[in-house]
């Protein structure tokens, strides 16, 4: 099985502080990989490095490589905007634009110059359905996104990310600020989506990982401690640290 994303010896520094230490792993395609670990162990930094959102920080520095479709994403010549269309992101705090629901979802398409009204409407519906939001908002697509509840806004952000048809979707603790019912809807949506898109989700909620993940990566203090199939890791982890974390000593 060809890996979607191959991370090789990734080390990340902010100034002199080393946040990630020689991470090497392969993310399997069309599945859900959960990244777990105690707070501050570099999980967010890790996935933000994948779509190069950390580039904006002047003291950010990365070594190693992240291979996506045969090319190293971290190299200076790699076109960043294209990268981000193929690798989308949903953030911890929902951040819809203060525009209508329709304009939120279609934003990514519009900046790519897609104007065909038919095509836009089709993608709009498809993305909202994929995020389990369509039924709730289909009569109010012109409504300002800020009027939606937190859970709805987060699903809107998912729909927005899905509209540009990424191959990988990164999610940074997407349900930590959301109520349980909305969380369940988002998790169900992710399970559906993962048949076509590779999902990498950072979560500090082990139960969530247990519910939806196909693979789990356990990070601790900037190092990758263990990576494997979800069921195997949860029931019989190889590493002692992993075992301790899972049984609730850490986190």
């Amino acid at each position: 099985m060809e890996a979607e994303l191959k991370i090789e010896g990734l080390s990340v520094y902010f100034g002199k502080k080393k946040i990630l230490d020689s991470i090497s792993m392969e993310i399997p395609p069309k599945s859900i990989t959960a990244i777990i670990g105690p707070s501050g162990c570099g999980k967010s930094t890790f996935i933000r490095t994948i779509n190069r959102m950390n580039d904006r920080f002047e003291d950010f520095h990365a070594e190693g490589s992240i291979i996506f479709k045969g090319e190293n994403v971290l190299s200076k010549d790699y076109p960043i905007e294209e990268l981000r269309r193929k690798i989308g992101m949903v953030f911890q705090k929902p951040n819809p634009f203060p525009k209508s629901i329709r304009e939120n979802v279609l934003f990514g398409l519009r900046i790519n110059g897609i104007k065909d009204k038919q095509k836009l409407e089709t993608i709009l519906k498809r993305s909202l359905e994929a995020a389990s939001l369509y039924e709730q908002v289909k009569d109010n697509l012109s409504m300002n996104a800020y009027k939606l509840s937190g859970g709805q806004q987060q699903r809107l952000c998912m729909a927005r990310a899905l509209a540009v048809e990424p191959e990988i979707l990164l999610l940074d603790e997407p349900t930590s600020a959301i109520d349980p019912i909305a969380t369940k809807q988002i998790e169900e949506a992710l399970e559906r989506i993962s048949k076509d898109i590779t999902i990498v989700i950072v979560t500090h909620n082990i139960q969530q990982a247990a519910r939806i993940a196909d693979y789990i990566a356990f990070f601790y203090l900037g190092k990758l401690v263990e990576f494997g199939e979800a069921e195997k890791m949860l029931n019989s982890p190889q590493q002692k640290l992993t075992d301790e974390y899972l049984t609730g000593i850490y986190g």
């Binding site: 905007e81 951040n95 634009f97 525009k99 934003f107 990514g108 900046i111």
Partner: protein, 290 residues
């Protein structure tokens, strides 16, 4: 017992503060009051629309129509030059993160430009627009001089307005693959728009009231007609106030007239400030959603 002393000290301090503060507020109110009470006697429709003339005793008669129009025209043209450039520069300074000294220098230059005395702007305008560009004493020279005065105001308010927009919106845009200018114009700018408009209105209030920059770039006291061309001299409200009470033939008689003009100017500025407040409260409501 020490505690009681501290409470007493507290009361004394705040009482003194209040007295001094109220004294200032009273002075400010009395200024408004003086302008209104003296100015209102002179104001009527004729005053606002007729051309100015002076009778043989040197007493101004007629109205200030040309001056009102002159002020409007010069403000409008000044904004036409300064607003597009200023907004773009403000967007650039805000969205393109400083990679070193160049940005800091640019920002410092903008704020220094903001601190240049208006009379120096007048000198510059005279040297460059009147003499070198050859526009002479004209609406054009004066407008461009005022545009340079307004430019740093617009740049700074635009930059601050854009910076006030929270980072998450930009991150959302970048994560979708937007380029920096796309995020700047399509996401951040619409949110910052009302604050930017506030800055533009503030700049126009400033330009409308300035005298020194137009002193030697085109303003005049005696014009028997409404302005007709850009390369002509023009009348303006602030300059008229100054001219009437210092250089006119009959100063004492001109004073009430001058107060009338002052009232018109102040009313214009109050209207602009009210517009700012309306824009502000509207934007606050729309960003809070439902």
């Amino acid at each position: 017992m020490n505690f009681k002393k501290r409470i007493l000290k507290e009361r004394i301090i705040f009482t003194i503060i209040s007295i001094l503060a109220i004294a200032i507020l009273i002075s400010i109110f009395s200024i408004f009051f003086i302008i209104v009470s003296k100015g209102i006697r002179v104001i009527n429709l004729t005053f606002l629309t007729s051309i100015t003339s002076f009778d043989f005793k040197g007493i101004p008669t007629g109205g200030i129509g040309p001056a009102i129009m002159g002020t409007f025209i010069v403000t409008a043209i000044g904004l036409a030059f300064s607003v597009p450039i200023g907004i773009l520069a403000g967007i650039y300074l805000s969205e393109y993160k400083s990679k070193g000294h160049l940005f800091n220098v640019m920002r410092m230059m903008v704020s220094n430009l903001a601190g240049v005395p208006s009379v120096v702007h007048g000198l510059f305008g005279m040297a460059v627009f009147t003499i070198i560009f050859g526009f002479g004493l004209s609406i054009l020279s004066a407008s461009m001089t005022l545009a340079i005065l307004a430019l740093p105001i617009i740049i700074m308010t635009t930059e601050n307005a854009m910076k006030d927009v929270p980072i998450d919106l930009r991150e959302a845009a970048y994560a979708l693959g937007a380029k920096r200018w796309q995020s700047a114009f399509f996401v951040v700018f619409p949110v910052a728009f009302s604050k930017i408009m506030t800055g533009v209105i503030l700049a126009s209030a400033r330009i409308a009231g300035e005298t020194a920059p137009i002193l030697f770039t085109g303003a005049t006291l005696y014009l028997a007609h409404y302005p007709t061309a850009l390369n002509e001299q023009f009348m303006a409200l602030p300059y008229m106030i100054y001219g009437l009470v210092t250089t006119s033939m009959n100063i004492n008689a001109s004073v009430p007239f001058a107060f009338g003009i002052a009232l018109v100017l102040v009313v214009l500025i109050v209207i602009m400030n009210i517009a700012i407040m309306i824009v502000r409260s509207k934007s606050r409501k729309s960003l809070q959603g439902g």
